[in-house]
Amino acid sequence: MTGTSSTRIPLRDGDWPDAPPSPESAPFVAAAREGRFLLRRCTACGKAHWYPRALCPFCLGETAWEEASGQGTIYGYTLLAREDPPRTIAYVTLAEGPTMLTSLVDCEPGALAVGRPVQLVFVRSRDGTPVPCFRPVAMDDLREPAAGE
C-alpha cells in the first residue's frame, strides 16, 4: 500500500526462529527435509485445512497427510520495512484451499500484491529445520528454487 522500502527482501536461509517441536508437526518436518510440502485432509468430510491437525477442524474426523502443490496466491501481507533486513509476514491461500500464515521472501517489496501467485520455498531456521515460505512467481528476477531443502 504505502511501503516505500526499496531494499530487497532476502531469503534469510538459516536465520529463521526455531519452532517448538510437536508430535503433530513432526511428519511435516520430516517430509520437508526431503523437499516435500504436506498438508492434511479429512478422511471423513474431505476438506483440507491449515494448520495441520490430527482431528479435522471442520468435523473432528480423522485426517491424513497428502503432498501439496506448493502453489498459492497472496491473501494479505505486511512489510516490516524498519527491520534489518526487511521482512514480511503474510497469509497465502494454497491452491488446495486453505490459507496459511507464512512469510514472503526473496523478492523486491514492489513485487508484493494481494492476489499475486507465489510458490513455496523451504528456508531453514537457526537449527536447520525447514520453514515453509513463499516467493512471488513470474517475476523478472525469478530464479530456480533454492536447492537447500
Binding site: M1, T2, G3, T4, W16, P17, D18, A19, P20, P21, S22, E24, S25, K47, A48, H49, W50, Y51, P52, R53, C56, P57, F58, Y75, G76, Y77, T78, L79, L80, A81, R82, R87, I89, A90, Y91, T93, G97, P98, T99, M100, L101, T102, S103, V114, S125, V131
Partner: protein
Amino acid sequence: MTINGRAHIVGAYEHPTRKAPDKSVAQLHAEAAAGALADAGLSKDDVDGYFCAGDAPGLGPLAMADYLNLTLRHLDSTDIGGASYIAHVAHAAQAIATGKCSVALITLAGRPRSAGHSGTAARPVIADAPDSPWETPFGPTTVNLYAMCAQRHGHEFGTTPEQLAWIKVAASHHAQHNPHAMLRDVVSVEDVLASPMVADPLHRLDCCVVSDGGGALVVARPEIARSLKRPLVRVMGAGEAYKGQRGGEVDLTWSAARLSGPAAFAEAGVSPADIKYASIYDSFTITVLMQIEDLGFCAKGQGGRFVADGNLISGTGRLPFNTDGGGLCNNHPANRGGITKVIEAVRQLRGEAHPAVQVGNCELAVATGIGGLLGSRHGAATLVLGRE
C-alpha cells in the same frame, strides 16, 4: 434469563500513573481496587466476587485474592486478552443475577512501560500452543498481525491510511483535555502519515501507547446500587465471541465483534443508532474501524468514510468515541485496554467526563473490545450500559 437491569456498575477508577517502576503489579491492582471501592462508597469487606485476567500476578485469581485478603463466594479469571474486563462486567452481572455474589470487584494492572515491553516485540513462544509449531518462525507480533487486517481492508474496500489516521486525530482531540493522558498534543492526519511506518500500512501514530497503570470496576446488585450515592449505571446487554483462522478459511475483513455486538444490542433492546457514546478498544486505528463496522454503526467496508473528517470527535462528530483519549493517546495499562473503555463509558453516563468532551444527555453507551490478535486469534466483548 437476561442480565438487563440485574446489575449496576457502582464503582470505577483509573489509576493515574502512567509509569510506575517503583510499584509492584499486585500493588497497582490493589490501588486500583481501593480507588474503585472508594468511588462506590463500599469497603473491601463488601466484596464477595472477584474477577481478573492474565495480567494478575500468580495463579488465576488466587494470588491477588489473597493479596487483597478477600472473602469470596465467586471467582472468575476468564482471559480473552484486553477485552477480558468488558466480559468480566457481563460475567459479574450473570453471577449477581443468579445469586452467586452481590458485589463484584474487577481489577487490571501492569507495568509494561517500566518493563520495556512493546507490541513490536516477538510474542513469547508458548510451546504447547497448537499454533506455535506452525507460526513461530514467521515472527508474528501484535502490530504485524493487526497490520495485515488493515492491508486487506484497504485492498477489499479502498480504506486509506488517511482515513485510519482520522481515528488517531479524534483521540488526540479528546486527550488534550485529560491531564493524565500520555500524549496530549492534538495531531493532524499529516502528522500520523509522517510518523515512522511500523508495519505497513500502520504508522507509529496508528498504534496505542505503552503505559503502566491499572483500573478497577465494582458491579453490584441493583438494591445495593440504589443504596449508594453515585449515579446509577445499569448493565443492559452483553455479548462475547471469538474468531480464529477457521481451519484455514481466513477472512481478515471482520472481527468477532460482528457476533458480540449484535448480541449485546439485542439483549439491551437497543440499536446502534440509539448509542450516544462509544468506548471502542483502540489498540490500533484499524481495531476501531473494524469494530465500528462490525457493531453496525456503518455498513461493512464503509468504516473509512465513517471515521473521516472528525466524525468520532465529541461535540462535532456523529459518534463520539474514547473521550479520555483512549489507548491511542491516554493509557493502555498492562497492554490491555478493556477496563479503561468501561471506565470512560461510566464517566460519560454519570456526566463526569471532562466538560469539553462530555456528551450531552448521554443516557446510552457502548463499550467494546478486541483481545488477543485481530489477524490470527482474538476474542471480542461488547457491553451496552445505560443511565437510570
